[in-house]
Amino acid sequence: MELLTELFWVFLKVNLLSTSGPASVGLLYHQAVGRFVTEQQFVQAVGFSSVLPGSDALQLAMYIGYAAGGISGGLVALLASILPPTVIILLVTMILHRLRREAWLASFVEGLAPAVSVLMLFTAWKIFQKGGDAGWFGWLLGIASFIAMWLKLPERVVVVIAGIIGVIYSTL
């Protein structure tokens, strides 16, 4: 029960402080790794959520919740992720016209964006270092993936190919 309450709070917090799935990765990493999941599992969660269709945020919640506390863990994490946007949208649709003039909310998010980006840089570095091989093989794969995505290749294809290359490399 304690675990479920903890899961609920973490996902509520993460979904209140981020505006999309990919942007929540940085914050979620700090909140979940070592507590609910291992480094390896977190990489799997992010990797597969970008590969599978549909909302990344919900998939991250489902994976981490399930890994930490089975099906009930997954459902609790899911509920906590759905609540903040739902409540906010219902409020906004009711008081839409008043909120439109409240520029402070837009400014808050504008201030949030650079901080989220920086947090993601830190997270990317940690995932790179601890998730696997940080030697020449990891660098090569990382740089190649970066270039591929920069050239607008679909991210999910790049992630899957990198994984397959990893499997082949580990059997050599």
Binding site: Q41, A57, P85, T93, F108, G111, G138, V167
Partner: protein, 178 residues
């Protein structure tokens, strides 16, 4: 009358099941949803407004957009129907993947797969971070944005708790971007 409402809900449910099965993430679903929703359940102006709000408000992007479209088409029941359609496909799939992965967690090939995926995931996060950094800065990255970025970097370097850093950055945004 009730029958017509029911048809609208079914249409919404089907629309969101489809969009969420075909698009990999929230931002990617915007284009697909545009084709499905504009002209049928809402005007282009409403859609643009919905996208704008989805970018600004906290929580999953795909969900927020779904709820706005659902509201325009069928009020609060429309919101709940759209929500259901948007939540089901990704979570059911992920549950299956998570369940399978837990069983093979200690297999060697999965370790290799994760080792290969890590650098690609790190690269993906970098790309998303860069996109995010540019949001709102239509032409160049302003000095105030840089200031917040540098302050956040220092705070994170000093191991300050990340939720606190984000809250601080948001508050700073309210002060700086008036």
């Amino acid at each position: 009358m009730n029958d017509r409402k029911f048809v609208v809900w079914l249409q919404l449910l089907w629309m969101f099941l489809k969009v969420n099965l075909l698009s990999p993430s929230g931002p990617a679903s915007v284009g697909l949803l545009y084709k499905e929703a504009v002209g049928r359940v809402m005007t282009e102006e409403q859609f643009v407004e919905a996208v704008g709000f989805s970018n600004v408000l906290p929580g999953s992007e795909a969900l927020k957009l779904a709820m706005f479209v659902g509201f325009a088409a069928g009020g609060v029941p429309g919101v709940l129907t759209a929500l259901l359609g948007a939540v089901l496909p990704p979570t059911v799939m992920m549950l299956a993947v998570a369940a399978i992965l837990q069983h093979v967690q200690h297999e060697d090939w999965l370790k290799g797969f994760v080792a290969g995926m890590s650098p690609a995931v790190a690269a993906l996060i970098l790309i998303v971070a860069w996109d995010l950094f540019q949001v709102g800065q239509s032409r160049e990255i302003g000095r105030r944005t840089m200031l917040i970025a540098v302050l956040s970097a220092v705070a994170l370097w000093l191991n300050l708790p990340s939720p606190l850093v984000l809250m601080g950055a948001g508050v700073l945004g309210v002060i700086l971007f008036r």
